[in-house]
């Protein structure tokens, strides 16, 4: 049967003081691969057990499968496929993927290459001469929302509002009723509404007007699964904006931070541009942006590592811990861009594997390549940098870097 892990390890991971380096605590957690918590939930922290359960058809992403459901932020709103189970999840994801990747749209990410390079280039132009820059605020933050807006077909003049909404939503995700002003939550709720309404309007305009952007394609789809409802299109677009935002911001910031901590790798990247592909994979293993899947549910009893997790249980998956599991990765705490057999959990695993993974990879690859190419002798101002509050989507709040000969 289940053993309970070292009391409080998870609590210490969630404590802000662990944000800069949660990895020793993950190692502690891994001593009990499947750990029953005091509240009856389970925490899984080892590579094999995480991948096993992510491929287990009894694991549910639907909040209704929890015996103790969580309060919903938005009532009566259509949920995106990330929070649904098959067959509905599969149908919606399939319909979205038709316009996003292989086999039906194999050239999408490659086709965005010049757009991505231009967006990165113009952001770097803006701080080219400055001695001190914040990689997060000046560079990483504005980048992904711009990209997703282009992809969806949000008109340029509306983009700034999308940036504000996405920021307000992301801020509210960390809302802590004990320390945060209520306004933080309200702003997030309002932003969700505004974003939904605006996306709804964009979808409406596109009915009967086929076009190249994702919203137009979804609104006029004639694929084998038929067409998504407008609510489903809005939910999907919202998912792409939000899930594709902070994750990429963190990955770029974590990446730059990791490079600055490994100057010899940074130097190599300057001279070996091809290194960037395996380097970003290693980054997804070593310093991923999604550390934790906060909850999944046992749809029926699930057996993992000889533990039976009862139906209705809440299950937390420690992805970043799994990617540092020494039973799976040799010398896991070493950042090694030449690592082979690097099947990390940076994009999760199973049917809910990151939908935008291919795009996120390319965004990060281009961002890091260009930063390294154009920053002159970059130096870290503070190590560790200040972190965002979230232990789930983990990354620096700011990443101040000095450059030039100063």
């Amino acid at each position: 049967m289940t053993t309970t892990e070292t009391p409080g390890t998870l609590r210490r991971i969630f404590d802000y003081s662990a944000r800069a380096d949660p990895y020793p605590l993950y190692a502690e957690l891994r001593e009990t691969p499947v750990a029953l918590q005091e509240d009856g939930s389970y925490v899984i922290s080892t590579y094999r057990e995480i991948t096993d359960i992510l491929h287990d058809p009894h694991l549910s992403s639907d909040v209704r499968s929890l015996s103790r459901p969580m309060p919903a932020l938005e009532d009566g709103v259509t949920t995106a496929f990330i929070k649904r189970d098959p067959p509905e999840h599969d149908r919606l994801r399939r319909m979205a993927m038709r316009h996003f990747g292989p086999p039906h749209s194999p050239g999408l990410v490659a086709g965005m290459e010049s757009d991505l390079t231009a967006a990165v280039g113009s952001l770097i132009d803006d701080f080219a001469g400055k001695e001190r820059i914040d990689v997060v605020d000046d560079f990483a933050c504005p980048f992904p929302v711009t990209v997703t807006c282009h992809l969806l077909g949000v008109p340029r003049e509306e983009e700034p509002r999308f940036h504000v909404w996405v920021n307000d939503i992301m801020n509210s995700v960390d809302y802590d009723p004990e320390t945060d002003p209520r306004e933080k939550l309200d702003k997030g709720v309002q932003a969700r509404k505004d974003l939904r309404r605006n996306l709804g309007g964009l979808v409406e305009q596109r009915h009967g007007r086929p076009g190249d952007d994702l919203l137009a394609r979804l609104a006029n789809d004639d694929g084998p699964d038929g067409r998504m409802t407008d609510e489903e299109i809005v939910a999907t677009a919202k998912l792409l904006l939000i899930a594709g935002h902070e994750t990429v911001v963190n990955l770029i910031a974590n990446g730059m931070l990791t490079l600055l901590r490994h100057p010899q790798v940074l130097e190599r990247l300057r001279h070996e541009p091809d290194l960037v592909a395996p380097l970003v994979e290693e980054l997804l293993r070593y310093e991923p942006s999604v550390h934790i899947i906060p909850w999944r549910a046992a749809y029926s009893d699930i057996t993992v590592a000889d533990t039976v997790i009862p139906k209705g249980s809440q299950i937390m998956l420690m992805l970043a811990s799994g990617s540092r599991d020494p039973k799976r990765f040799h010398d896991p705490d070493r950042f090694d861009p030449d690592r082979r057999d690097n099947q990390h959990l940076g994009f999760g695993s199973g049917i809910h594997s990151c939908f935008g993974g291919a795009l996120a990879r390319r965004e990060t690859q281009i961002a890091l390549t260009e930063l390294v190419r154009r920053l002159v002798r970059p130096r870290l101002v503070a190590d560790p940098p200040p972190y965002r509050p979230s232990p789930v989507l983990r990354g620096p709040m700011h990443l101040d870097v000095e450059q030039g000969d100063g």
Partner: protein, 451 residues
């Protein structure tokens, strides 16, 4: 000299001969070099040209998406081998450790890997098989000439045999919008490999995609015109069909004839091996110097009562090649067994079909996820109350879970409901045809315990 010294000397300048220069042979050669073997390496193959990949030959090559010439296997390292290509091996002398080639040459070895694979089973009447526009598909040249024939826009294509290869070729023809008739002796396509229940789904898939599918019929004669070109086929029910291309897809024949006098346990089912890929002799003794890998090998598997199993699976060829190569250059105590769970895939009519385990080792089948009607599901196979295999149609991401069920001998039928469980979850008899049909379409064949 100690055995460690002998092995060290062998690794340094021994002679290894690999007969069969396709996937298993190439991967074994690469693995031998990766293991530090620096002696002489000879690759013998009956085809000219570099080793190539076969899965695309019945799929992307026929639709014209991938040119046949672009299927060369990627090289993972330099193998620095002597290549004797274009001449088949014709005999093996284990008294003197020589491979005899068809042109009379003799190639000596210290250790031998046999990876001669299979060839397409030809049409049973030689004169009819020789007709123009009658094809089989096994080699790159086969695929290229069939592609050319399909590109010419024949009035109809007849495919004899609806195993995986025949079904994939039918799919490629439909992708080219060619009229296709598929004639299958069994009750349904793929039934020999996956059983009657899933065979029905495959039949539905073919018909939905416009294939003129005829099951339970036997093609008795391929008729040619005055120019010696195929033009009509005759069925055992007296019917006929006019077509301009015939593809014979009746499974494969293992290339073991050259071993007939060798003393190895080689026959129509392949070469009997132990799980370390050592070939067995006719007395059932493992030979320390002769190994087999790939389609031609039949190895015991603990998950399947240690019965000898032949697998025509891509992944199996690679894994056996690596195990064989390792064992060829390692001390006994460090030998690896080949125990991985079989894995197989096919793409046809836009559907990704994937299986784990051995579906032919089953007495019952149950759909555990999705729906047969949608052609999107997972089915679990059971034998005497435990899970032995699973097959997915467009649902491959779950198979890792089923592999675990197989490897842990989990009870069949699986009990706990899933969100996408179908309403009817009662196991049905698997409905596999007898062994005579099994040999035609299955890619995983349970071949019994003895020769």
């Amino acid at each position: 000299m100690t055995s460690a010294d002998t092995l060290r000397a062998f690794k340094r300048d021994g002679r290894i001969v690999v007969v069969g220069a396709s996937l298993a042979g190439l991967r074994a050669a690469e693995a031998l070099r990766a293991e530090g073997f620096t002696g002489s390496l000879t690759m013998i193959g009956d085809e000219l040209g570099e080793p190539y990949d076969r899965p695309p030959l019945s799929k992307q090559v026929l639709t014209g998406w991938v040119p046949a010439g672009n299927t060369t296997l990627p090289r993972r390292r330099v193998i620095d081998a002597e290549w004797l290509l274009g001449v088949p091996a014709s005999g093996l002398d284990l008294a003197t450790n020589h491979v005899r080639l068809a042109d009379g040459r003799e190639v000596p070895f210290d250790r031998l890997l046999i990876a001669t694979g299979v060839r397409a089973r030809p049409w049973f009447v030689e004169s009819e098989a020789a007709l123009n526009r009658v094809f089989v598909v096994r080699t790159r040249e086969h695929a290229e000439s069939l592609r050319r024939a399909l590109a010419a826009g024949p009035s109809r294509v007849l495919i004899v045999g609806a195993g995986f290869t025949g079904s994939e070729i039918a799919s490629a023809c439909r992708a080219r919008e060619l009229p296709v008739t598929v004639a299958e002796l069994g009750a349904a396509p793929l039934a020999g490999a996956l059983g009657a229940v899933i065979g029905e789904v495959a039949a539905d898939l073919q018909r939905t995609h416009g294939v003129d599918l005829r099951c339970g019929v036997k093609v008795t004669r391929l008729e040619g015109d005055a120019q010696g070109r195929f033009r009509r086929a005759h069925f055992d029910d007296g019917g006929t069909i006019d077509a301009e291309v015939a593809v014979v897809a009746l499974g494969s024949i293992r290339n073991t004839e050259w071993l007939r006098e060798s003393g190895l346990a080689a026959g129509v089912w392949g070469i009997a091996c132990d799980s370390g890929c050592h070939a067995l002799d006719i007395n059932g003794r493992a030979n320390d110097d002769v190994f087999a890998a790939g389609d031609v090998a039949r190895c015991p598997h603990p998950l399947y009562e240690y019965r000898l199993i032949s697998l025509e699976h891509w992944a199996n060829a690679v894994e056996q090649a690596e195990v064989a190569a390792h064992n060829m250059v390692s001390p006994q105590a460090d030998h690896w067994p080949h125990l991985s769970t079989p894995l197989f895939w096919s793409i046809q009519f836009g559907v990704n079909i994937k299986s784990v385990g051995v579906p032919t080792f089953a007495d019952e089948v149950v759909v555990t996820q999705g729906s047969l009607d949608d052609h999107r599901f997972v089915a679990a196979y059971g034998y005497r109350g435990r899970v032995t295999a699973a097959v997915s149609f467009d649902n491959a991401k779950w198979l890792r879970h089923y592999r675990r069920l197989i490897e842990t001998a989990a009870p069949f039928p699986p009990r706990c409901p899933t969100p996408d469980q179908p309403t009817d979850v009662h196991p049905a008899p698997v409905g596999l045809p007898g062994p005579s049909l099994l040999a035609q379409g299955a890619t995983a064949v349970v071949t019994g315990r003895t020769r």
